[in-house]
Symmetry: C2
Subunit: 323 residues, 2 copies
């Protein structure tokens, strides 16, 4: 396959699956005849909203922390995140017997701070209008000897994220196309290595919010493009430039990127609720949105979708759907 | 076991499972460490909200219709229902190549009428303030030679409903207690036959809304008690008297009934949304509500819960949770 010398291989993903298997859920794959009839294809949705801590992020964080040396584990880990990566790092660190320091903006949602603290992490806050989190976090990690766990741009993180697609395809058999939400690109990089490694003809299509199309533009131009601060309801995908390592994988293995608008994402969340009885956060619904809104041309017969997460509370959900 | 001469046996349930297996979903079993920590037990939730047409009802309806004689199938079936049994009968009839007539009150929710019609059933409406649906339905069935498919009080329906517990326990192994929502009593009758047939020491506890405690009262008095018109948010359990056949099973096999209030049910729906990322209709959440509200004393270590359905739309959900 193209890019056989990529930084992450199918064997790495299989090794990650064995490493994290006793800890992460093997999440269910949902199907719906109503959905199939609507879109004219057989659709298999890998429900990472039902994963531990509510999103696929735990796969990569756990895999990366599990591979640290004993002396690194003795000192602890750190992450910058106000989202699912914070909770993933905190939970994985606790389960692996180490400590985590999470740098979060001081105005991060209380519920996310509480969940992260609930997993036993120390939270350090900063003022995101006046302080630079990378400088702060790097200084903090250096001072305390902590290992930084990046949210996507690391081979062990990418390999861990790829285990969701591996499980999906083990269960469904060959897929014609796999739709994967794209933020920093770690989930789709791992998914593409898994999917094309298992069946080289499977197409891998990314899905980005219209307001955050950095990976689409980067693939089209062949080099990493930075877009302005993303404005999208899909906060988990609000990234303005692809990762270096993720882009090095994705430029070889991702066939195209579909874009979805906020209203399409909200419609997909409503469809998931009403018809699939399941809760997707906006980023978790973008793959389904691309299907329902007809954003993928010439849909082939067998379609996989990674629903990346479900971390939205009932209050925010009703606001979004009512608005 | 007590009641070995009951109208439904574990073998009937195994036969039903084989009969309906290619048609119904083998629904996922959800677990949540957060939930386990909150209630102090290991909890396994059988997600019949993810069943075809969104509720367990399809199991019994399909099993009953599949057992009809060819000459009965040639004439068609009928049901009275404004709820999940209507959709279940319509869908099962279509899949089994027969026709269905569903008698619904003329003020039934348009969405339920549309779903039922969408499965190809003929809908006959009546005025529920002035007309007697049993007399109407019986006359209609007689006139057209249709077979009535009862919502719970039939051995084939009970055997079909029992397949959910069978699947659950096949997956989890022995449970100390199984919590099952109770309306007319078909789901719990089948569940109790399955659970106690597989492991005689498993306790089976029913869950009823406070405003619809006919089975609790009937079990306590040893005879079927009729309660006033139920007032409860859990419309799927708003039944005022247990079925004859279901009560004949349940009086032998159900250990006790826990009651839950409307606010507790709504809290459980919110918990399911926020933490389990799944959608339960009110009746589907009553088992979880009993756990979260501490309505089951001396909870043993391994607890099964049947979440019976998820047919609530996003609009009604936001009304209930906002109210």
């Amino acid at each position: 396959m193209p890019g056989a010398d990529l930084p992450v291989t199918l064997d790495d993903i299989r090794a990650a699956a064995a490493r994290i298997g006793g800890f992460v859920h093997r999440t269910p794959v949902l199907t719906s005849r109503t959905l199939d009839a609507l879109v004219g294809a057989e659709v298999f949705i890998k429900c990472e909203n039902l994963q531990r801590m509510g999103a696929f992020k735990i796969r990569g964080a756990y895999n990366a922390i599990a591979r640290l040396a004993p002396e690194e584990l003795a000192k602890g880990v750190a992450a910058f995140s106000s989202g699912n990566h914070a909770q993933a790092t905190a939970l994985a660190a606790r389960e692996l017997g180490t400590s985590a320091v999470i740098l979060m903006p001081e105005d991060a949602p209380r519920s996310k701070m509480a969940a992260t603290a609930g997993y036993g992490a120390e939270i350090v806050t900063y003022d995101r209008y006046t302080e630079d989190r990378v400088a702060l976090g790097t200084a903090l990690a250096e001072e305390r000897g902590l290992t930084l766990i990046p949210p996507y741009d690391h081979p062990d993180v990418i390999a861990g994220q790829g285990t969701a697609a591996l499980e999906l395809i083990e269960e469904t058999g060959p897929l014609d196309v796999l739709l994967v939400p794209v933020g920093g690109g770690g989930l789709i990089a791992g998914s593409a290595v898994a999917a094309k490694g298992m069946h080289r003809d499977t197409k891998v299509i990314g899905v980005e919010p219209e307001g955050s199309d950095d990976t689409k533009r980067s693939l089209e131009s062949g080099t990493r493009v930075t877009v302005p601060v993303p404005r999208t309801v899909a906060d988990g995908q609000a990234v303005s430039v692809p990762g270096e390592l993720t882009f090095a994988v994705n430029r070889h293995l991702v066939d195209s990127v579909a874009l979805v608008g906020d209203a399409e994402v909200i419609d997909a969340m409503r469809f998931a609720f009403d018809r699939l009885k399941t809760v997707f956060e906006p980023s978790g619904a973008t793959g389904l949105a691309a299907l329902l809104a007809g954003r993928v041309d010439n849909l082939p017969p067998r379609v996989g979708v990674i629903a990346s997460g479900g971390n939205i509370d009932a209050r925010r959900f009703t606001e979004l759907l009512g608005g």
